[in-house]
Structure formats: structure tokens, C-alpha cells
């Protein structure tokens, strides 16, 4: 997700901490952008799991190595997006198959637009309670059942649907404000 908690640092500050060698900041950066890289590789470029893993690891290795070359710390998200796009195309070209690059890129851009929208919506989650964030993430992003969510959070399964509805309404209000 773009940010992981209500107290999440702005991207620029997080990048500055990473550049200073703060390993905890690096962990936060990986958490913050892991879904983004994963979604681009698997949804926009439809890479097979093993290819997506190569891309994922290589993108974060490049981010780690080249963080010092980033012109603006606040530009980390589009930079990671572009690194991922380029790496996915390299992976497709290396597959040995004939790759209609222009066609794939065009389709991928549409999907990436929708992934960017999802990132923006997830940022709205930061302003909700930890319980709402957890329930919405488990139900929608992790595809967990009411029962699993109830067991994990020690809540009656019968109350999960109403909590999801209430949390979605809060998220909607947050995004509208």
C-alpha cells in the first residue's frame, strides 16, 4: 500500500531516511510499495509468478542501489512505477517469445492507471481506525472470508459484514472530504 498507518511518513521523508542508511525505513519503503510493484507485474503485464518474482526482486535491488540518483525524493512512486514497467518489458523480451511491445504497453498503461487509482484510495485508509483498515484489507485485498476475519480479529463472524459496510462508508466520506 502507499502508506501503512495513520502516522505514515510522507514518501520524501521516508526516502531521505533510507538514503541515510536507516534499515527500518527501508523495510517501510518495501512494505509501502510492494503491492504496487506486484500489481504492475502480475496485473498490468500479466507475468507468470516466477517472472514476476524476478522483476519484484530486481526492482527493489535497483531502488536500493539507485536511491541516491533520485532527483526528487517525492518522486519515488512514479520512479518505482517506471522501473517496474521497464523491467517487466525486459522480462517479456527475454522470454524468447515474439512480444508485441506497443500493444502490451498500451494495455498495461490502462491497468496501471487503475492501480494508481487504487493506491490513492488506499491512502485514504490511513485516516481510518486500525480496525477498519485491517477489516477492509483482509476482506477486499486478501480475499479472506467473514469467518477467517472474525477468528483473526476475535470478532463474531456475524458482525463482519456490517463492520465492512460501516468502514467503507467512512472511507467514502474520507475520500470525499
Amino acid at each position: 500500500m502507499a502508506h501503512t498507518s495513520a502516522a505514515a511518513q510522507p514518501d520524501g521523508e521516508l526516502v531521505a531516511r533510507c538514503r541515510a542508511g536507516d534499515t527500518e525505513a527501508w523495510n517501510e519503503l518495501v512494505e509501502r510499495f510492494s503491492r504496487y510493484v506486484f500489481a504492475i507485474a502480475t496485473q498490468a503485464f500479466r507475468l507468470a509468478q516466477h517472472d514476476a518474482e524476478d522483476v519484484f526482486q530486481d526492482v527493489f535491488a535497483k531502488v536500493y542501489e539507485r536511491l541516491g540518483t533520485l532527483r526528487s525524493d517525492d518522486a519515488i512512486r512514479p520512479w518505482i512505477g517506471q522501473l517496474t514497467r521497464n523491467r517487466c518489458l525486459d522480462q517479456l523480451r527475454a522470454s524468447g517469445r515474439v512480444v508485441p511491445v506497443a500493444e502490451i504497453e498500451e494495455r498495461a498503461e490502462e491497468v496501471i492507471d487503475s492501480i494508481d487509482e487504487a493506491l490513492a484510495v488506499r491512502e485514504g485508509l490511513e485516516h481510518l481506525s486500525p480496525e477498519c483498515r485491517e477489516i477492509l484489507d483482509r476482506f477486499f485485498a486478501r480475499d479472506e472470508t467473514y469467518r477467517t476475519i472474525g477468528e483473526s480479529l476475535s470478532l463474531p463472524a456475524g458482525t463482519i459484514a456490517s463492520r465492512i459496510s460501516r468502514c467503507l462508508a467512512r472511507l467514502r466520506d474520507e475520500l470525499a472530504s
Binding site: G21, S34, F60, E117, A118, F140, R172, L175
Partner: protein, 82 residues
Amino acid sequence: MTTYDEQRLGEVLRRLPPAPAGWVEAAKELPRARVELDAIVERAERDAAFRATVMGGLEDALRASGVEPRPVVVEHLRKRLA
């Protein structure tokens, strides 16, 4: 500004499932892996026999240093020793 109803919000949230936990943990390990790689490369530059051993088994050399020999790490080590 986009307005969302609850159904659409749910659809949008589904677009960002978590990456596999092992991938995320491996990416978090990069700073530590870098330190271990630096140590391997530095020793290989000083010790020809060690270098030959490493070149003969990059994965084993990484494992011996406590680094998971993922393809991207192996490739990185190969390039640095080339």
C-alpha cells in the same frame, strides 16, 4: 474529484493484493545482503583461491554467508566478480 459508492470502493481495494510474504521479506533483506556481498567481493579480490571457490559455486558462497541465493542476488554477485 472521483466519487465512490461502496461497491466501487470494494472493487478498487481488490486491485492491490499483498505481494507474497517471502518476496517482501527478501526485498527487506537487501541491505544486509549487500553487506555480505561486499564482504565476499572484498575477500575474493584479496584471495585468488577463495575467488575460484566462489566462482565455482556462487549459490553456496551466498548460503555460507547467510544470504538466500535468489537469482537477482546471484546475478549481482556474478557481475561484481566478473
